[in-house]
Symmetry: C2
Subunit: 347 residues, 2 copies
């Protein structure tokens, strides 16, 4: 069998299709969603393309999420592949409204010759991050591939938990305020700077952290007012906002000056020519909230150590559904939806 | 930091440690079990090193299992990486007693340039095997790594399901009979023959299949009499029997002539110099059953299309706990416990 090449239609997987943006969504929709979405499933399944799946369970929801972690380099300022593996999965569960973690699984694939010393360091980080998040690895799997068949180590984590009330990424309504729980762009730019061995002034560190305790506080204090949540990982804040706006059929006016950025992120973004709005975060959430409760939610977030820099950054509107309108202070323009993360293997 | 090398103690991961045998168990115990096992968890967790984890849930058990599939080649006689990804996870759940599947997750890692035609073929196989098993992919993740950073495609599947009564791999008691649900060695030898491009007579095909309907029939008809179950994947029947015997603290007398083998497996094993008892199966179960119910269970299994070749192959004894004693018909000898699967990337 040979594939008939159609001019202009790629016949091979591209790096961009792994970047978490529009190109990846198109690939997944084409290949994975179409058929599985047609199969009977009583709950939030693959078709929703949310942060995870949810199955009604008594008067609660069983939530499941999975992520493979291929980050390069495996050790970077502020974290490592072990910390990101636990945090990424715990955060995806939190985004769906999980307040009780049942456990996570850990599937490790190693390259022959991988240093045991590094493996022990990663294992230590997995344990520490589980303790920090209040969860535990309940089952796992180990595979070894030959030299040159895989680059070092890859870790898949799947998490399960219970949500009393499900939070989706498609519930934004006109008038809602958009909150981010802290500074944006730290993870993506820290990893890029490390990869390019940039000598930078200031402290550029990944924000990678399990933020389930922060989200639990938000849900407990203002859960009824929260209309949508998503963690701005691959493709960054821009990709998440676009996805939330498209699914919710609202527009979003984003106040550029209100988006919290560290000086290190701002200057590194300028040096590398990369917009911090477009790169991955690993310890942040984007939250939609009813306008009249926005200040209260902000207070709750800011009183938590992981939410000190939380800020109201935008407002939902009925016009221009699916679009993000960037208000620069000098005028307004449409924010482009990223095709994908600027660099592969960011998480 | 440099690791201090201890003479005779490896400092790097070896292929053998991914082979599912003793070497792998030692690595996992050293690195993963020690600390996670000490963390609070109300259920069957990592320390049990069973086919999955189980969490008490009302009067049932929520069972979770995870596997990364790195098989090479990705298409082989009788199956492909898609079929094995669904079957492996569904079967691990069945081994723990799951009779209601809640869903599986699918994390795909692709190499840049991977042919979309192959991806579509794998996706088709994932869908078909899900339909066969009566489950659905509920959530997923897609990553792309650069050329040469991963060999083609790797798929992680995590499954969750409910068990009314948990079945473990450590419940064998002296007197119990050991049943296998069909012929042994088909998967491992089919993949090896394909890898070496052997031209063989006869039909050597992998047995890869979801056997949850077979196991459900066994549990419904003879559940109370079943004392242990395990699927003989990496390391084959020998590795599974050793693990079950060690955990249960019984010996097992294995009747060599009773182990079902196809002619193709027998002859290929001889050509390659590989004992079919030591290679992976992907559509079989090893079941421990109370002696007085063994024939009844055998009848149930044989009346199911996936259990036609089921056979009673051994008996548990109180003596020599942890050992497998091979009765060749001419005498008895200890069956060696494999260090690991003879070849890597078998599943």
């Amino acid at each position: 069998m040979t594939a008939t090449a159609i001019p202009g239609v790629p016949t091979r997987v591209t790096l961009k299709q792994g970047g978490g943006g529009r190109a990846m969504r198109a690939l997944i929709e084409r290949l994975f969603i179409r058929e599985f979405a047609a199969m009977p499933f009583d709950g939030v399944g693959l078709a929703a393309m949310d942060d995870g799946a949810a199955i009604p369970f008594g008067d609660e929801f069983l939530v499941i999420t999975t992520d493979s972690h291929v980050i390069h380099p495996i050790f970077f300022p502020g974290g490592d592949i072990g910390r990101i593996s636990v945090s990424g999965t715990v955060n995806d569960l939190a985004m769906m409204g999980v307040t009780k973690l049942l456990g996570i699984t850990c599937g490790v694939i190693l390259e022959e010759g991988f240093p045991l010393e590094d493996l022990e360091r990663i294992q230590r980080s997995l344990v520490d991050t589980c303790i920090e998040a209040g969860t535990v690895v309940v089952t796992g799997d180990t595979k070894v591939m030959g030299k040159g068949e895989i680059d070092g180590i890859v870790i898949n984590t799947t998490g399960i938990g219970l949500a009393k009330r499900l939070v989706r990424d498609n519930g934004l309504r006109p008038g809602d305020r958009i909150i981010v729980t802290g500074t944006i762009g730290d993870h993506g730019l820290a990893v890029m700077a490390k990869r390019h061995e940039l000598q930078l002034e200031g402290d550029l560190r990944s924000d990678v952290a399990p933020i389930n305790s922060l989200i639990a506080a938000a849900l407990e204090g203002a859960g009824d007012a929260i209309t949508a949540m998503k963690d701005p990982t691959r493709g960054g804040l821009s990709s998440s906002l676009h996805e939330m706006a498209q699914k919710s059929q609202v527009g979003v006016i984003l106040q550029e000056s209100a988006v919290p950025l560290t000086d290190a992120v701002r200057s590194t973004g300028e040096i590398l020519g990369i917009d911090p709005l477009h790169v991955a975060n690993e310890g942040k959430a984007v939250i939609g909230v009813r306008a009249e409760h926005a200040d209260r939610l902000l207070d709750i977030l800011r009183s938590h150590p992981l939410g000190r820099d939380a800020a109201i950054i935008g407002t939902c509107i009925a016009e221009r559904p699916g679009s993000i309108i960037l208000d620069t202070g000098f005028g307004r323009r449409l924010l482009a939806e990223p095709e994908g993360e600027p660099l592969p293997r960011i998480c």
